[in-house]
């Protein structure tokens, strides 16, 4: 009887030790993730606002393409500089290889296979994260 109870207690100790180790590992993971999350939150706090402002930047650039106005060009530069100071950086797409991590293929057109033929909407990074992928036209491999 005593032996049986002792065995039961030993099994309980092993089970509790296992549980303790798992809870400790979970806590350490949680602590690490919390620290990472906090620094990420500070960096990405502006992401939603900046993403909304990108629509305005697109409109201004479209207007500039049409009007070719010097004053408007200065305003766009100033606007982009302000956003750059917050961590915004343009994704390079011009005639490079199509990369689905950074670009969104909206149309397949005649041209070099898997090469960006035209950028429809610019893409941007916010620090190291892709805030908005670039919308591009990609070559199909058939000549024009």
């Amino acid at each position: 009887m005593v032996k049986k109870t002792q065995k039961k207690h030993e099994e309980k100790i092993i089970e509790l030790e296992e549980k303790y180790k798992r809870v400790l590992a979970d806590y350490q993971n949680q602590e690490r993730r919390h620290k990472e999350g906090q620094s990420q939150l500070v960096k990405m706090a502006n992401a939603i606002l900046i993403e909304k402002l990108l629509a305005d930047l697109d409109s201004l650039e479209l207007a500039q393409k049409h009007l070719q106005d010097k004053g408007l060009s200065m305003v766009i530069d100033q606007f982009f500089t302000t956003l750059s100071q917050e961590g915004l950086k343009e994704i390079e797409t011009d005639h490079g290889q199509f990369d689905p991590l950074l670009m969104d293929c909206t149309e397949v057109v005649p041209g070099k296979k898997d090469q960006v033929v035209e950028t429809i909407t610019k893409g941007y990074y916010l620090y190291d994260n892709v805030l908005r992928p670039a919308k591009v036209k990609v070559g199909s491999g058939e000549g024009k």
Partner: protein, 119 residues
């Protein structure tokens, strides 16, 4: 005991959650989204938004709307209908084996699905 994850597999979008401290916590994508398109490109190993972005460029290798086929026989009406609709090839499966790195997974399915698709 390994981690327990749950997959909400939708026809269009999916979400994955992990059990932490007794409650389910959604795992966000690298881009910070809680849901992602139910699309995969198995040749280049692309999943979700990234797979969707190259979909029109690589339509024959990009798998989507796969939930329509779950639990269905190849010769079934639904499979044949889907076959005509999707851009990838659907062939009859001879090998039914599958494996998972997780010890337990649970998948929620739309309540309107026929019973055989929930199995």
């Amino acid at each position: 005991m390994g981690k327990i994850i749950g997959i909400d597999l939708g026809t269009t979008n999916s979400a994955i959650a992990v059990m932490e401290g007794g409650s389910a916590k959604i795992i966000p994508t690298a881009e910070g989204r809680n849901i992602f398109p139910s699309i995969v490109e198995p040749v280049k190993n692309l999943v979700g938004d990234v797979a969707k972005r190259q979909m029109i460029l690589n339509a024959s290798n990009t798998i989507h709307s796969v939930k329509r086929l779950m639990g269905q026989k190849y010769s079934g009406k639904q499979s044949q209908k889907t076959k005509e609709m999707v851009s990838y090839e659907i062939v009859e499966n001879k090998d039914g084996s599958r494996s998972s790195p997780f010890r337990r997974t649970s998948t929620t399915l739309n309540a309107r699905l026929p019973n055989k698709q929930g199995k």
